[in-house]
């Protein structure tokens, strides 16, 4: 297959962007679901994702220590471990730091969430160390679309990248069906309309909110595991930036909207990849913050959200 070098470069950025975007999308779902139901920005969600990455890392190291060599089995076990333990953290955070504040002034839960975020960062730093942690690649190799023989740019899609995009796509489809078809999804939609009314109609609001946090944390854990696989290096601080980017994704897509979170995630991933590829890479984070500021000021309802009417 012959691809001209500029095209190849473009394709490479596209693939990078899709991979990043899928990961952001997974985290963004957690922000958007919680905002939809409780109306708060779960500032600590980025840290939950960081915990997910660390739990995945610990599982990887433990499995390689006992000499497990089957890649699929490793991936399954790591996934289960990371998801289970991260979900437990998500549940606890809601129970301890947010539930008592459900009827407090609007900013109290946000401040509490910042507190949780600072706590988790420092907790992991103290227990796991401040230095970045690297693991050996688990999935190697890939497909070379274009060799770059005549001095051009080589385009490679690694198996890992394909795995990430396919896995997140399947996960998101399954998740969308779960929300659309099950009673849990119905309860969530009812709660997002009116918490008090939902509870009057016999919906267990506490349980629905808890479940929402657990699901959000589980998806963030998947994102954390994928990032650990993809970059092979993590540290206790990765949650902050990823959290902001995923939140930006949720806002861009329209906070409260699940398809919006996925779309926003992809867009942010693509913007970041193309900005790095074509504009000044060192300003890629500035670009994301810029989008955040711009969307919130110009179109706070995002791409797929509905505008709100001020109630007087």
């Amino acid at each position: 297959m012959h691809v001209p070098p500029p095209m190849a470069y473009f394709l490479q950025q596209l693939v990078n962007g899709l991979v990043l975007g899928s990961i952001y999308g997974l985290i963004a779902i957690g922000y958007t679901m919680v905002y939809g139901i409780v109306g708060m920005i779960n500032f600590a969600h980025g840290e939950i994702y960081m915990l997910g990455a660390f739990l995945a890392l610990i599982a990887f190291v433990a499995l390689s220590a006992i000499g497990l060599s089957s890649v699929p089995l490793t991936l399954v076990i790591v996934l289960v471990v990371a998801v289970t333990f991260t979900a437990a953290w998500g549940w606890t955070v809601e129970r301890v730091a947010y539930r008592p504040l459900r009827n407090s002034p609007r900013l109290a839960p946000l401040i509490s969430a910042i507190g949780v975020s600072i706590f988790l960062q420092n907790f992991v730093q103290l227990t796991q160390g401040a230095r970045s942690k690297a693991i050996q690649p688990v999935l190697r190799g890939g497909v070379t679309l274009y060799g770059g023989g005549d001095g051009g740019f080589a385009v490679t899609i690694s198996w890992l990248q394909i795995f990430i995009v396919v896995f997140t796509t399947v996960l998101m489809i399954g998740f969308t069906l779960l929300i659309a078809r099950t009673s849990l999804g119905r309860a969530q939609r009812a709660c997002s309309q009116d918490l008090k009314m939902a509870s009057l109609l016999g919906i267990d609001v506490d349980k629905t909110i808890s479940t929402t946090f657990v699901i959000g944390a589980a998806l963030a854990a998947v994102a954390g595991m994928l990032v650990t696989l993809y970059y092979g290096v993590i540290d206790f601080f990765i949650g902050f930036l990823a959290g902001i980017k995923a939140f930006t994704a949720a806002v861009l897509g329209g906070i409260g909207s699940l398809p919006g979170a996925m779309l926003g995630g992809l867009l942010i991933g693509l913007i970041e990849a193309f900005w790095s590829g074509y504009a000044a890479a060192e300003y890629k984070d500035v670009a994301v913050y810029g989008i955040l500021v711009l969307v919130l000021t110009v179109r706070p309802q995002g791409l797929l959200g509905r505008p709100m009417i001020e109630k007087v």
Partner: protein, 467 residues
């Protein structure tokens, strides 16, 4: 309080405690119990399972004890918890475990004794009755102590350094209190103005040769202009959106400082920022440059390197007091009342003819200018600045001081700054745990008192004592 039968008083707490302990075990087992460690052959695990289990047991005991106290038996619980807290440092296990046991024990003891003596609890939560004279005089006494502090023999270089640091945070806390406390806007990017002021002074003094005293107002002005430009479009946003946008602004400022190397020398930072002078009249050196005076010659005293530091202490004291005086004054002005009215109910305030945009902008820009002044001070004191000093964490620390002290309370900010900045500096072993404690304290205080520790508000005008 209702006293339930013993069996019942133990059974439910036992169940709650078991659940809490189990959850703690699940949470801690991998993160605490299986730390990874770097070796030449990659990462390995160095298990600390007993520690993780010990933490879970501690959580179980704590929850159980609280449950028993709440079920009507607070006195024995308070006593036992206190004994545990005292014995904790002598347990030869892990130092973290001892610390957790001591802090947890104290907490349980405190909670239980509040339950045991409800009148005491009422008095503490309802505000201890301090005679009004004491409240009026206290700040004056503190001020007098501060003024003579550098001259007393007990103070050494390190203590004075800590005092200067604490005062810097007090000034920042007071400045941020204008936005957060009075105007009710959660600003998560206050450090941006601190950075702008610091860079403004550093660049003006190095490239334009301006002295600290000449550059100080310009630094404040730069920050205020930045506040006006940024604040303009974002002040209509709802509270939490506003918070996130300001966070973005803070981070953008830091990233620009890192990447605009031609101006800011990037992450290397700017070194050799000119030192402070005695109001431009004299320098704090043993041997002044040609045509300059030395401070000690001016006053006919012998040279002492601590003179500059003492002078710096008085500068930050004066700056902090200026912020405080400004706030005290503006609270009694239409503008200050309008800030508070918009915090209380922005819809009602607008229906009374208050221009939300303009009033909020004034709060934001004024707070920004104080932040800028603090930044210029920071730069002249350190002699070196780099983007590292202006991360989001710094904003969070300033916010934490405001929130922990009690939003809107000036005295609260001072207390919080001493506890959160001063104490960890004094006790270096604690420094490692400082941020951890910060996080826990923010959550705990929000859960316990969503409006902050000192939430009493003094009316800005009284009908009885109207002017």
């Amino acid at each position: 309080m209702l006293r339930t039968p013993l069996r019942e008083a133990l059974l439910r707490p036992l169940r709650d405690g078991a659940l809490a302990g189990f959850v703690a075990l699940v949470l801690c087992l991998p993160i605490v119990g299986l730390p990874t460690s770097e070796t030449a052959n990659g990462l390995i695990l160095r298990p600390r399972i007993p520690e993780a289990i010990a933490f879970a047991v501690a959580v179980f005991l704590g929850r159980f004890a609280l449950g028993v106290a709440e079920a009507g038996r607070p006195r024995p619980v308070a006593l036992i918890a206190l004994l545990v807290a005292i014995a904790a440092p002598f347990i030869r296990f892990a130092p973290e475990f001892s610390a957790a046991l001591a802090i947890g024990g104290l907490f349980v003891a405190l909670r239980a004794s509040l339950l045991a003596f409800p009148t005491l609890a009422g008095r503490i939560t309802g505000g201890v009755k301090i005679p009004p004279v004491a409240i009026k005089r206290a700040p004056l006494v503190i001020l007098a102590l501060l003024v003579v502090l550098p001259l007393t023999p007990v103070i050494d270089r390190r203590l004075l350094d800590i005092a200067i640091l604490v005062l810097t945070y007090v000034m920042l806390g007071w400045g941020l209190n204008i936005t957060v406390g009075l105007a009710g806007l959660l600003d998560l990017g206050y450090v941006a103005f601190f950075a702008i002021g610091a860079y403004a002074y550093a660049l003006l003094s190095i490239s334009a040769g301006l002295s600290f005293w000449g550059a100080l107002p310009i630094a404040g002005l730069c920050a205020a202009v930045a506040g006006l430009v940024v604040g303009g479009p974002i002040l209509r946003l709802r509270g939490d959106y506003f918070a996130i946008v300001t966070l973005g602004f803070g981070e953008i400022t830091r990233l620009i400082a890192i990447n605009w190397s031609s101006l800011t020398s990037g992450s290397q930072g700017i070194a050799q920022i000119p030192r402070i002078s005695f109001f431009g009249v004299a320098d704090f050196t043993a041997t002044p440059d040609a045509g300059r005076h030395a401070f000690h010659e001016l006053f006919g005293i012998s040279f002492d390197p601590s003179h500059r530091q003492i002078f710096i202490f008085y500068v930050i004291l004066a700056l902090a007091l200026a912020v405080n005086a400004f706030i005290a004054r503006s609270r009694k002005l239409p503008l200050g009342r309008a800030w508070e009215a918009l915090r209380e109910d922005e819809i009602a305030a607008q229906s009374l003819g208050l221009n939300l945009q303009r009033i909020r902008l004034s709060a934001y820009a004024i707070a920004a200018s104080w932040g800028g002044l603090a930044g210029a001070f920071f730069a002249v004191r350190q002699g070196f600045i780099s983007p590292e000093s202006f991360s989001f964490l710094e904003s969070a620390v300033i916010l934490a001081i405001v929130v922990l002290g009690g939003v809107g309370s000036q005295l609260g900010v001072v207390l919080a700054a001493i506890v959160m900045i001063g104490v960890p500096e004094l006790v270096r072993q604690l420094a490692e745990y400082r941020m951890l404690a910060f996080g826990v304290a923010m959550v705990a205080i929000m859960v316990w008192r969503p409006s902050g520790l000192i939430s009493r508000r003094e009316p800005s005008i009284r009908l009885g004592a109207a002017p």
